[in-house]
Structures are given as structure tokens and as C-alpha cells.
Symmetry: C2
Subunit: 123 residues, 2 copies
Amino acid sequence: MSAARAGDELTLALALDDAALASRVRELLGPVAGIRLVDGAEDADIVLSDGRAAAAAELNLTARERDVLALLAEGASNKVVANRLGISVHTAKFHVRSLLEKLDATGRTDAVAHAARLGVIDL
Amino acid sequence: MSAARAGDELTLALALDDAALASRVRELLGPVAGIRLVDGAEDADIVLSDGRAAAAAELNLTARERDVLALLAEGASNKVVANRLGISVHTAKFHVRSLLEKLDATGRTDAVAHAARLGVIDL
DNA sequence: TCCGGCCCTAGCCGTTCGGGCAGGTGACGG
DNA sequence: CCGTCACCTGCCCGAACGGCTAGGGCCGGA
């Protein structure tokens, strides 16, 4: 999420659920000078998104947190998460705690439900 | 789920996600003699359903289990479930256990994820 | 160079979960 | 009348969870 310097190209990332809408946007904005469309919201100056995707983007989940979240959605315990990711149980709990805060959830079940609602994960 | 006796009316229950499809079926089958369309899959001889709804129907969740499942999707603990439903914590755990078995889940998080996949609950 | 974010590890502690077991009640149908 | 099913309650216990505090290593930007 680096700020764009003046004179630089402005990088735009698309985060749209509607594929048709997304391709229309690409056709319209692709040829525009000074603009570059990129994949992945991480290293873009601006993110073009609809409501749900915007909320998901604002969560600012780290790569590791996404890994953990995906495993939580599979009903994995902290121990399983640790084994699957090759980290200690303590670290697994550490990431889970971060997820609970970012997702404003009271527990792992709530976290998965919130994430699914926001479209962060697909059940 | 009582077996239909010969000479009796055959009761059909519809479990279709597609509303348009459902109304077409009702128009076509409604006037047919010897057939009666009913609501609720419980007391029907045959259930007309598409794939996902069929799986959901075969779970045979009781009313109480649906109540508990909805609360689990909100991240409710056994204690919260008990208070909301006006039952003891023991009974809440009892229903949760049944849900885990029927949904083939290893824990409440897994149960909610499975239920969502089957369309039993809407997140 | 220092600061900040991300990732990792660790212990402690009280609460919650989930499995197992053993019951009791009311309703419905054979 | 008796079997079955849904619903309810209880206790035990090991495992898992979630919150807390307290670190260390790495890398990129200010």
C-alpha cells in the first residue's frame, strides 16, 4: 500500500465480484495513459471494488492470516493449523487472535461466518 | 416419513431453490389426481428436490437442531445457546452433539461451514 | 540508523468444548 | 400397551480454546 509519487503511473487493482463488470472496466481503463491495472490489492495505489469486496479489502489480512482463516473454515484446531503450516501451536493461536480482532469475532466459528459474509472465503 | 398405502393420495413435498421452477412444478402437478402437494418434507411420501436441497433434506434436522444451528452460526457458546432457547447448558450440548453427527463435523465451526455449503443456513 | 509491521515462539490461566454415560418426560403410531 | 422419537437434564473428564504478557528475527521505509 505505497503512496503514489507524482509523475508515476497510478496502479489500479480491481476487486469486483461481477466478472462482466470487471471486464468492462478493464476495456475502458486499460488504454488510459498514466494508469496501470494490476492484480492483487496489496501493491496497488487504488482499489476499485464493490461494497462487499471493499469491506474485505479493508480488513488488511496478512498472507498468513488468510492461510489460517482457510484452515479454520475447514474446522481445523490450533494444533492442526500448526502442523499444516509448519509452525508452533502458539503461533497458530497468535494468528487466530489477530483474525478474531480484524473480523470482530468472538470465536473461530464467528470469524468463519463473518469472513464468509464478507466474501473473504468461499465455503 | 410414513409409507404411502395403496389407494391413498401420494403426498409430494417440493424442496427447490429455484422459485420459478417450483411454481412451474406446482402448476403441472397440482391438478393431477391422486397426488397432493404439501409443505414440509417431514410428512411427505416423496420429496422433489434439486441436488443441494436434497442433501439438506436428508439431514433430517429437528426443529430444535435448526434453532441451535442458527445460533452456532452467530458464534454463540453453549451457554448463550442455552439462555436464548431457555434450556440448560446440558441440553444445548446435547443438540450440538446431534448436529455434529448429522453434519459429519468435527466441531461447531466445521458444522456451520458444512451447513452453509449445504444451504441449510444462510450466512 | 531507527521505527514499524509481519512473523514467529513461549508460558500461564480460566473458560469452553466435546465425548461418554445414564437417565426422565410427553407425543405419536403400530 | 408398548416401542420409538424428539426433547430435556445431569455429571465426569481430557482436550481445546481464548486472553494475557513478553519476548526475538527479518525487512522495508522514513
